[in-house]
Every structure is written in structure tokens, then in C-alpha cells.
């Protein structure tokens, strides 16, 4: 439906208020109708759920959301629980490494694939296939590989290299890096695809200009192409970031939080207490704490990225 043309608006002429209202509702009417599902999802689901979560985290509801108000009791218990505090520090450590390595390896592999090499399709599928397999079993395979007796370390020692130690899976200080190995194996492929799409979107003449300017290829990638891929990088960071915050399947399949609670993560705490322990209030309190930290990071960054300047990024 074509938009309100200028003449119609002027003919209306019933004072600035109606024009103001018309401006809010009728301008871009079709855009608003088209974006209605998004707005509904945002308001009802995301905002609604967050309020629901926060509300019931102040109650003592157990299996069903029905308990009565108990103030900050759940939070006091949460902060007193060592497993929760360890989970948060684990997530920060794992998250930092996972974000940096995924983005760096993703970009490096995308650059390699962008070099018009042979068998590109084969290489791309090899890097992407882990993304397709459900993590329950692939986690088990990694568990085998990194298991001190069954896996790499045991085999190497049998082959005579007795000094070889690779016991990260069962070593409390190193288990997070064992998670990282399996996590990168599963996640880097998709980030590479995303970045390759970004690289291929760059205008060919930029490359020619840089070559004529005598700028070496690696420098062109870093100083010219990378800043141009801002949109793709933002998408990748949000994708990897949300994967880190919601980390659950990888931990359950690979270490189940062990050894001890050395690889516990917040989402596992939320899931265990909401369903396993039938105490949704405690689970929701944990989830609210997670959302709070995310909000503190996201809101200022999003304001800077989308809202603030309002110009087309």
C-alpha cells in the first residue's frame, strides 16, 4: 500500500496534533505491519519472560511457578553457594578465551578460504560438519580422546612416549581449556562461514586500489577489509557471545561439570535447579543474575552500535 502522499497529509490540515499522530501511526504503516511479529515477540516473549523470571525469582516456588513472595532469599542462597560462584568465574575464563580464539581462528580460516584455493568447498564442509552433529555424542568422543587412560595420553604412553601427559579433562585447573578445544571444534566453522560471506561482499576494486598502493595482502586484510566488515563482526560477536552465555550441552556432554565442580557453568546451574531439583525460584534467581550481567554489557554497547548515532551502520 503506497504511503500517505504529501498532498493528502496537507489536505487533512487538522492542526499539528493529528499530523503528529498520523506521523506516528500512518507513516511507514506497511513497515510497522511487517515488523508487527518482531514487536510482538520482543514485548510478549522477551520482555514478558524477563519480567516473569525476575518476578518468580523473588518467590519460593518450587516445581510450579506459584510460590509466595520471599524477597531476596533466593539471591542470598545463590551468592552463598560455592558452585554458583565457581560457575561464574569459569564462564568468564572460558568465555574470554572462547570469544577471542573463535573470532581469530574464524577470521584466519576465512581469509585462507578467500585465497581462491582449490577444493574450497571440501575444506569448508570439513570445518562446518561439527556444527551439524548433536553434541551429546561428539562430546563423548572428545571425552574419549582427552581421557587420560582411554585417549591420547594412554595411547601415546603405550607407544613408548611415557612422558606424554595430556590430562586436561581430569585436571581441575586445565579442564576449561579441554572444554575450549571441543568448543572451538564445534563453533569455529560457522563463524568462518559468516566471515567468508563478509569478505566476499567486499568490492573488488578496493583490493585493486590497495594492491596499486603497494599495501601487502595481510595488511590490507587487517587495516582495510576488517574495519569494513563491521556488520559481520558484530553479528559474529553476538552469535559467539550468546553461545557462551547459554553454554550447557558442551559441558554436560564432555565433563558434566567435573572434575569436582571445576567446569560448572551458570546455565547448567539454572537447568539443574529449575528441573532436576524442582526449585525454579533458585534457578530463576541464577538466570536473573546472568541476564543482569548481560544487560550491563549489552545496553551501552547496543546504544553505541545501533541507537545512539541513528545513522545507517
Amino acid at each position: 500500500m503506497a504511503d500517505m502522499t504529501v498532498e493528502q497529509a496537507r489536505k487533512g490540515g487538522a492542526g499539528s496534533l493529528t499530523r503528529f499522530l498520523r506521523n506516528i501511526f500512518l507513516r511507514n504503516l506497511s513497515a510497522k505491519i511487517a515488523a508487527a511479529p518482531m514487536m510482538a515477540t520482543v514485548l510478549v516473549v522477551f520482555v514478558g519472560c524477563t519480567i516473569w523470571t525476575i518476578w518468580y525469582s523473588f518467590t519460593n516456588s518450587r516445581l510450579l511457578p506459584s510460590g509466595d513472595f520471599v524477597g531476596f532469599e533466593q539471591y542470598q542462597r545463590l551468592f552463598a553457594t560455592r558452585r554458583w560462584n565457581v560457575s561464574v568465574t569459569n564462564l568468564v575464563t572460558y568465555g574470554a578465551f572462547s570469544l577471542v580464539f573463535t573470532m581469530v581462528f574464524g577470521f584466519l580460516l576465512a581469509v585462507l578460504m578467500d585465497q581462491k584455493i582449490r577444493f574450497e568447498n571440501a575444506f569448508r564442509t570439513i570445518m562446518l560438519y561439527p556444527f551439524a552433529l548433536s553434541f551429546i555424542v561428539t562430546g563423548l568422543v572428545w571425552q574419549w580422546i582427552m581421557n587420560p587412560s582411554l585417549g591420547l595420553q594412554g595411547t601415546m604412553r603405550n607407544l613408548g612416549w611415557t612422558g606424554f601427559t595430556f590430562d586436561w579433562l581430569t585436571n581441575p585447573r586445565m579442564v576449561l581449556y579441554a572444554l575450549l578445544i571441543a568448543g572451538l571444534w564445534q563453533g569455529v566453522g560457522f563463524v568462518m562461514i559468516l566471515m567468508l560471506a563478509g569478505l566476499r561482499g567486499i568490492d573488488g576494486e578496493i583490493w585493486k586500489a590497495a594492491r596499486v598502493d603497494g599495501i601487502p595482502t595481510w595488511r590490507t586484510y587487517l587495516s582495510i577489509v576488517l574495519p569494513m566488515m563491521r556488520g559481520v563482526l558484530v553479528t559474529a560477536v553476538v552469535l559467539v557471545g550468546s553461545g557462551i552465555v547459554r553454554l550447557y550441552d558442551l559441558v554436560v556432554a564432555l565433563t558434566d561439570g567435573g572434575p569436582g565442580i571445576a567446569s560448572e557453568v551458570p546455565a547448567k546451574y539454572v537447568y539443574n535447579y529449575m528441573f532436576g531439583a524442582g526449585n525454579i525460584a533458585q534457578g530463576l534467581a541464577a538466570s536473573t543474575m546472568m541476564l543482569l550481567t548481560v544487560m550491563i554489557i549489552i545496553i551501552p554497547w547496543a546504544y553505541l552500535e545501533f541507537g545512539g548515532k541513528g545513522n545507517r551502520k
Binding site: 511487517a34 519472560c49 556488520g231
Partner: protein
Amino acid sequence: MSQTATISSAGPTASQDARVEARGPRPTPFFTPRKIVIYSILFFACLYFLFPLYVMITTSFKTMPEIRWGNIFAPPIEPTGEAWIKAWTSACTGLTCQGLSPGFWNSVKITVPSTLVSIFIAAVNGYALINWRFKGSEIFFTILIFGSFIPYQVMLYPLVMITRELGIFGSLWAVILVHTIFGMPILTLLFRNYFASLPVELFKAARVDGAGFWRIFFEIMLPMSLPIFVVAMILQITGIWNDFLFGVVFAGTQNYPMTVQLNNIVNSVQGSPEYNVNMAATILTGLVPLIVYFVSGRLFVRGIAAGAVKG
């Protein structure tokens, strides 16, 4: 007057003389340092990626005793395919012992509509956000991105209640709605950033020709979004095909996806797991997304090439 790079200080080496008589295409030896570096990094990357698959495939062709006593990296001594057959046709998933097959078509029934609906809505969102910016559209988008960080387990009960009020709980529509909701943040971001990278003149020219919101979307924007459409498809098909929780809770018993059978085979808490059947079952379940990746590889390149030409 000119300041071309001075000839390298070393005496005129052999390559210098050759350069003087240079003719035709520059001779590129087969082993340039650049190629060596590229292919060696790719080689080690492939080793890292393929190693678990090697273990999975060899294990899936071994018999249980051979797995229990043998070394997991050793290839199968007497390979048998019965684990695969069992996984597809006769592995026990609770009372019924029909392997993965019963759930296959249910998974297809869930994945195809969910993928298409979620991608379409996200594409419209991305398009509206970039080209038809209206009051508050950026705030909605920020909350949407924030939404992608909420652990999905937390939203289970509210979504159950929402779908119950809509009267679609326990039907295909419920699972399609849930996947559309969970896919929306990332997919909208994908499309939004992609449309932002298209030259703005395209959109302005269409507006000048009097094309409305939907005509521009279908006739100009959508055809150009093939590369990002492929990326979105890879993301959604993988996510939905491998999903267990939403399929089981929202789709209703008659639509249990294949992941329920897989989970029952692989994740039986009490009994002793049959590792070869588990491996075979996982690879079988993963086949559909894998085929999509390989096919999308071609689309991917052609789409991208089309995209690049526009520059």
C-alpha cells in the same frame, strides 16, 4: 622525477636478469612460500576437525567387545555395519525398538516449515529495520539482541503458557512458533547487517519509481540476499534439526522429532551404552544438516559471486 622502488641492493641476481627478458605470465613455481603456509595451516586445521570424525566412524564399525578392550584410535579389525543397521532400524528407544527411523519424517515435518517461516520473518525484520526506520525500531532491535542471551531453558514454562493460551500447544504450530522466536534475534541481525551493506542508492532508486514496501522487498531485496539467506539456512536447519527440548515439549507425541529417538539410544542413564550404535546414530542424524552444508556450499559461492559483482 619518478621514485620507483630502487633495485634491491644485492648484486643483479639471476632473477634480476630474468626480469629484464620477462615475457608472458609471471612464472609461478608450484611451491611458493605463500601456498606452503596456506595449505599447511589448512592441513593441520583439517586434522583437528576430522580427528573426532575418524574416531566416530571407526568406532561405529567395531563390535562392542572390540571397543571395550581395543584402542579407540585403532581401525576396526573386523568391521561390521550392523551398528548402523541397528541404529536406523532396531535400536531400542524405550519400549519400541525401531531405531531412529520413526522420527525422521517428524523431524522433516518440523524443520522445513520452521526454517522457512523463521527466515522469512527475520528477513522482513532486517529489511524494515534498515530501510523503513520508524520511531522506536532501534529500541525493539536492541531488546531483540538482548533476547538472544536469555538461556532458553528459562523461557520454557512461559512459552508453554503462551502456546497454551493460543491453543496450539502440542501441535506443529507451537514448535514452529518457538523456533521462529528463538531464531529471530540472530537471523534478524544477519539480515539487518547484510541489507545495511547494500548500496543505499538501490533502495532510493526503487522508492523514486514509486515501489512500495513489499514490492521492493520481494523484487529487489530478497533476490539480492542469497548469500545471507544461505548462512541463515545453515544456522536454522542445524539448530532445529538437532533440537530436542522444544520438539519434545511443543510438538506433541505424534510429532516427536528424531532427536528423541537419538537421545533415548545415546543417553540412557541406567544401562550400559552401546558406543558403536551411538556413533552410528549420531552420524545418521547429522546427515541431513551435512547434506545441506555441502549443497549450500555451491549456492554460497554463486550467491557471493552475484553479490560481489554488484559492487
